[in-house]
Amino acid sequence: MPTRPLVIRYEDDLQLFPGLWHKAGAVLTLAVALGYPWLASERWLTVGNLGLVAIVGAAALMVLTGFAGQVSLGHAAFLALGAYTVAVLGNKWGWPFWLALPLAGAVSACVGVVIGAFALRLRGLYLAIVTLGLVFLTQHVLLAYPEVTNGLSGTSVPMYWWFRGDVGSAASVGDTWQLGPVVLGFERKLYFLFLPLAAGTVWLTKNVQRSNSGRAMMAVRDQDLAAEVLGVSTTQARLQAFGVSSFLAGIAGAMFAFQQQYITVEPPFDLNLSIQFIAMIVLGGVGSVFGAVSGALAFTFLSPLAESVGHALPLIQQLTSAQQATVLLSVVVVLVLVLEPMGLFGVWLRIRRYFQAWPFRY
């Protein structure tokens, strides 16, 4: 069964969807993604939006941890920076969301590069601890300036189409649109905004992975001394990984803030959130963009499922539903890793290998 056409030029090897099966898979994914918001109930639409946010956040962490091998517990800090940037820009200056969004990424990326420079010589456990410190530092700073961030009581996150004050009363994205029979509520509008953002993030991180920049990160991850001797600057590769990762994490934080409409510092932006993202990329398979996407989706969609079955299970019925979900998800992560150390990506490789050999089984 030929799964791809004959490669006659090196350009052909660079394509994302080289063969018929790849193209069919892409079309199918697109159809499911576009159909989902019309079929899902309100509750699952929210889960879908959180899934798209998780894809952006997990892809961001994948660049830093999966490609460059820098284990970071500070991911929540970058999300918090993104979230609070859009909240402040919206509240203080009435910025439209599409302008605040990239700025959230930029603010987060600036902090990321500074931390990256600071942590250049750190690796493994030491880096984890420094980045953990970043979470506490960020929480502290956000709470220390209540006149900007509204402190402990949290802040609303307005989402305007245009500058507030211009064009009459600034229209909020929260307003429901009715076009004949088609109803576009807030969550559904968000979905169609988040979908291209998530797809764009996947595309960008895939481009990092298949290009010289990504290879340099992975070289530094696997053998930093050999990388230096080949002319790969470990400093540059690590800083680039920090920059790209924190930029995208800032975007994810901003998306999350818009979706929540009202945010506080803690929860959600605490160590627990960082660990959830690590769980996602480990579940999906460290080192691949596919792993980031599948891990993020599996994690977000299993949470509500776990909450709904949790009360029926012995041992954990006494816990709150959130705790039940945590326990069940931990079990799932551990099981997947015991059965397939490469995570969902490994499962996918096996399926693919099976079909490549089809109809012969060996």
């Binding site: 920049s213 290879r215 991850r221 696997d222 001797v229 790969v232 790209v244």
Partner: protein, 256 residues
Amino acid sequence: MALLELDNVGLSFSGVRALDGVSFSIEAGALHAVIGPNGAGKSSLFNCISGIHRHMEGRVRLDGQELTGVEPTEIARLGVSRMFQNLALFEHLTVLENLLLGRHQRYRTGLLRNLFWTRGAREEEVRHREKAEEVIDFLDLEHFRWMPVAVLPYGIRKRVELGRALCMEPKLLLLDEPTAGLNQEETEDMANTLLDLRHELGVTQVLIGHELRFVMDLATQVTVLDRGRVIANGPPSALRNDTRVLSAYVGGTVAA
């Protein structure tokens, strides 16, 4: 003309004198062997040339250009590439990706253009792929192109590491025991490859060897190190019966 000049190179590790007053030069186009018993300081010498040991004493010059105190990445750019004694491949990457990393410093497109996968980035990728394919062809690695290095047998990995070094199109190629751990057939293949490199591409090579016989057959020039010092230097014919060399190798594999 000397391509590489070592001038009074010394190196100490907390009490251990790994190298002491090492001076010799390597001619352009030579296949220069460095031999000596275990712990003689051969690998340390390579580390000094490629800039890994910042606390080295003495001076190293490549083509008249000072390498002393220069960053390893810069030394790589100046045309020095190497093969490590204990393989240092990027295990999780494919053979092709490992080879393309050998071309890393020749890429002109940076992160931004790579992120957006611009036409320039794509064209450059194809251009370097063509060069990597030449090396794949030269080393018969066609079957392994898409395989992650981690699954390959040792002999193939050695070839991949040589390939990665060749992708840099080096002026000076440092080979740290390229035949260690290889079987008879693979050793002969490697020897032929090194000779081809010299004759077809004219790459200057420095070869560290353990086996006296292998080295003596291949090399145009031999330097013998013992406990960090140069004890002999000259063409293999002159050293074959040198008593100093033989005594350094007592119990070793001495040429028949």
